[in-house]
Symmetry: C2
Subunit: 249 residues, 2 copies
DNA sequence: CTTGCTCCTGACGCAGCGGGAGGTCCGTAC
DNA sequence: GTACGGACCTCCCGCTGCGTCAGGAGCAAG
């Protein structure tokens, strides 16, 4: 029962592959005895080491580090755990960063598809770049805040607002084209709604609202790219909106 | 201004390294023109391609896949995004799995350190293995539920309960040693509290409570390892607790 | 012409194995 | 004795995204 196992047996019992066991040995994690013919035999001690290796792997510890741990029986478990946590947390942060961008992209694609101005594949890369240009205007903190805020608002609200923006731009455009007085109640109502939508997502944070303003100014091209509007038209809309706000005093 | 750039210039402007640009070229993502001496020159087209590569990288897309995307201008953006999401989500799940285990370990280390029965480094690997043995008794679903429940309960409560368990075991042990009648109110109170603590973490889910029972039975050794108690003593405590429950009817 | 900077082309290294090539060994059936 | 199917052996390349030399050539300024 406790006879030393050939490598195939050990592999079958541990769920590892023969190749993996070879690899562990190459790294010095295992050193089974050998038969005269050079075939590996794993005694109970080695079998246990394999289990320990697996255990440490389920914590995401690297094989090299596992090597040092197994060779130093007086290592500090708490320190090991802390190091691992830090490393994995960093990885997770990186991932959620990527996922955040994907979410934003998905929202944009969906919105543009629903509002009848889908992004042609040839423009996709430009749009993507526009998104990153815009992202650069926010600090990581601000981006995190915006993401939080979106979670608070929920899927429903976001979709509703996404659908409302193009309509609002359209209405403001019509008012502007019709020469509506920036001080008129109609114009004011539209821009109030505009600012309300903005405030909803910025959660009334002045820093973020400020950054958003910079985005409009410095990346007008990017913003219009994402909205699917002509950059000049977009600039006009923004200038008009500003006049309305100024008229309000 | 739009003269073709030497590689060092392009690297400086894009924030990439010369080596990275070489690498992209090896993979066929770029093909700058060359001077007579063989030095690379990047025109506006190539510069834009570099930006596109960077953009796609911020979504976590692999360089090979970027290659196929850049060569097929009529690819499906939505499909690309969906694939990326799936891949990253899988990665994230794997990571949070590892982090979950690390959390559990950290809790255990902390608790054992606080209750005056720290885990000696030499026993750490055994304890780790015991944890995984126990983990095997739960389905992934159940583990997720337990993690959720812990989040609901909050740090405070968890620490309090962690501190209570050893005391409770101690009291039950004393009652048992004193030959307290399993039907006595004292014994009943202790075991009621015991079951209450269990229910708090299992959130009264019968499936999980059942699995927990299996853990005690089949992995008594592992459980005692984690609690820092003698396995035989542990088994006695559990048998006594069961007698108390039976006496209650 | 020399100095000093930029550029070139290999080629190894990392992490954790997968997978294959080409050869040896083992147990069993004939 | 031998022939055959597995199991085992030892290299060695491949993947991912570059970092990092090594050794040599081009280029502008003094």
């Amino acid at each position: 029962m406790d006879d030393p196992l050939p490598i195939g047996e050990l592999a079958a019992r541990t769920g590892l592959t023969v190749r993996a066991l070879h690899h562990y040995e190459d790294l010095g994690l295992l050193s089974p005895t050998r038969t005269v013919a050079g075939h590996r035999r794993y005694g109970p001690r080695e079998v246990e080491r394999v289990q320990q290796i697996r255990s440490l792997q389920t914590l995401g510890v690297s094989l090299r580090e596992i090597g040092t741990v197994l060779e130093a029986p007086d290592f500090d478990p708490a320190a090991l755990v802390a190091r691992q946590r830090a490393a994995l947390a960093a990885e997770q942060a990186r991932l959620s960063d990527l996922l955040g961008r994907l979410d934003a992209l998905e929202r944009l694609l969906r919105q543009r598809a629903q509002t009848g101005t889908p992004i042609p594949p040839t423009d996709f890369l430009q749009t993507l770049r526009a998104m990153q240009d815009i992202e650069q205007h926010y600090s990581p903190d601000q981006l995190a805040q915006l993401a939080d805020r979106r979670r608070q608002l929920g899927e429903e609200t976001i979709r509703a607002v996404e659908a409302e923006w193009p309509r609002l731009f359209e209405q403001v455009g019509q008012a502007m084209d019709a020469g509506a007085d920036p001080a008129s109640p109609e114009a004011r109502a539209l821009i109030d709604r505009w600012d309300e939508l903005v405030a909803m997502f910025t959660n009334h944070d002045p820093g973020i609202t400020q950054s958003l303003g910079n985005v409009w100014k410095q990346s007008g091209g990017s913003a219009s790219q994402m909205a699917g509007l002509d950059p000049d038209r977009m600039r006009e809309l923004f200038a008009y909106a500003q006049r309305v706000r100024d008229a309000r005093g």
